[in-house]
Point group: none
Chain length 255, copies 2
DNA sequence: ACACTGCGGTTCACATTATGAACCAACGTT
DNA sequence: AACGTTGGTTCATAATGTGAACCGCAGTGT
């Protein structure tokens, strides 16, 4: 059934399929369930699982009855994160942004509908260390998240959005309103977040495109609403947008 | 050469070997270099790489000449991180610890300078039920608390410690003495608590580290001093330490 | 006590699948 | 212009991975 596509290493492809079968919704799976999900024979699935377990990419629950993603994947993920070239290219831009404004600059990517912080440079104002890296937020309530969502193909956008768009403090936003906001973001090239995620916090974000003109990340400057007045946000927006554009350009993006 | 070990899925094992070849020191590798590192035929390596690239676990540099770990690996890593939270991973270790020793095993984290009990498995000896979960103690007077404090960065340690270090029964301890004890704990990898918290109660605790080598929790075995003689404590310490190490490993910690 | 159904795990004959020596074409040095 | 690289490709060979059918077990409804 599944378009087997290319020749070559089938076992590897299947193994990866097995890994991808573990979602946040289903972080633990039994052998039979897993075989059903990935559409493979139980014996095959079992062999793949044990092979992956030997390598540490798969672990088992205490009772050894269920499987889940293993510790080695965390290590690999961290390494992948570090070696991602968006990160390398963005670093200097984040630093100049943070130095020039005194606020905190972040680099974020989409991961399963959430926004994942890849890198961060603290401004002069805040005290907290850089332990935000690795945390996640709802994409639709962050400046970076919205900046990315706005430039996503429709099909992917639908997957990335949850059914309800909850906001801090205020109630739920309608889908129509949200789409209208995305359109505005597309037009102006940046997105804002004013106390949507957390009261007292505001940010401006702009998208980063790869050589293939696809959104792959976003950067932002954020800080307390007391300093991030509407006027300040308006001043910061073009800076963030330009920094993002420079990064995109370095990644091979040609408008 | 490499002991092929078990039968079964060789391609998968090799594919994982390829992934693991990318280190922080060598985040980008060419085909030939990679083949040399993993000791595989160039053709084989190439097939594995393209299969992995198709799945997004491997990406290529802008010029498409070098390979590196791909974005999908970040997503998988994050998922692995989420699905292996301390509590779930620690559970089985606590259980075996409690069963093997007959004493009560606990999992604790730091919260505002206090130690907070996250989970607990009762041994066969005590009567009290598991309603300890959720209670808090002074970190500096518990085995788990000290185990965590000992491995905390200095800045955080200062925040976590109160100005006075009161002890049950005995008077106040000097800061210098306490730092000296922390140093010892760091050296031996575990901490003890002999009637510091409460007369008649003793415990051994060991720290748990996350993928980023930060202390995030600690486990302990505790019981009445009548059974927890100095000799018994010495016997239990390595067990606790090893259990903690296993948990850390499952969380992605690489010593 | 029963058959029934699900589970994780195992077996083994079979052939699909992965393998690697040898091969290109292209680039940089010498 | 011969050499030593590189990334990428070919193809005959057999080793590798495959999956239907199997096991023992635990739970469940009868």
């Amino acid at each position: 059934m599944s378009a087997d596509a290319y020749p070559g290493t089938q076992a590897v492809q299947r193994a990866v399929t097995v890994l991808k079968a573990f979602t946040d919704a289903q972080p633990e799976l039994g052998l039979s369930a897993l075989a059903r999900v990935v559409g493979l024979n139980k014996a095959t699935t079992y062999r793949l699982l044990t092979a992956l377990e030997r390598e540490g990419l798969i672990a088992r629950t205490g009772t050894r009855e269920q499987y889940r993603l293993g510790p080695e994947l965390i290590a690999l993920g961290v390494r992948a994160m570090r070696s991602s070239d968006v990160r390398a290219v963005s670093r200097p831009e984040l630093e100049t942004l943070a130095r020039a404004t005194g606020e905190t600059a972040t680099l974020e990517v989409l991961a399963d509908g959430d926004v994942l912080i890849l890198d961060e440079v603290m401004g002069s104002h805040l005290v907290s260390a850089t332990h935000w890296v690795g945390t996640r937020w709802h994409a639709y309530a962050t400046s970076t998240g919205k900046a990315m969502l706005a430039f996503l193909p429709n099909a992917q956008l639908r997957d990335a959005l949850p059914t309800r768009l909850a906001l801090s403090g205020r109630g739920t936003r309608t889908r129509a309103d949200f789409y209208k906001e995305l359109e505005k973001i597309r037009a102006q090239g940046f997105a804002t977040n004013v106390e949507e995620l957390e009261t007292g916090f505001a940010a401006v974000g702009a998208p980063i495109f790869n050589h293939d003109a696809q959104v792959i990340a976003a950067i932002s400057i954020g800080g307390p609403r007391t300093r991030f007045t509407d006027k300040v946000i308006k001043q910061l927006a073009p800076r963030v947008k330009q920094a993002a554009a420079r990064i995109s350009q370095q990644l091979g993006f040609r408008p």
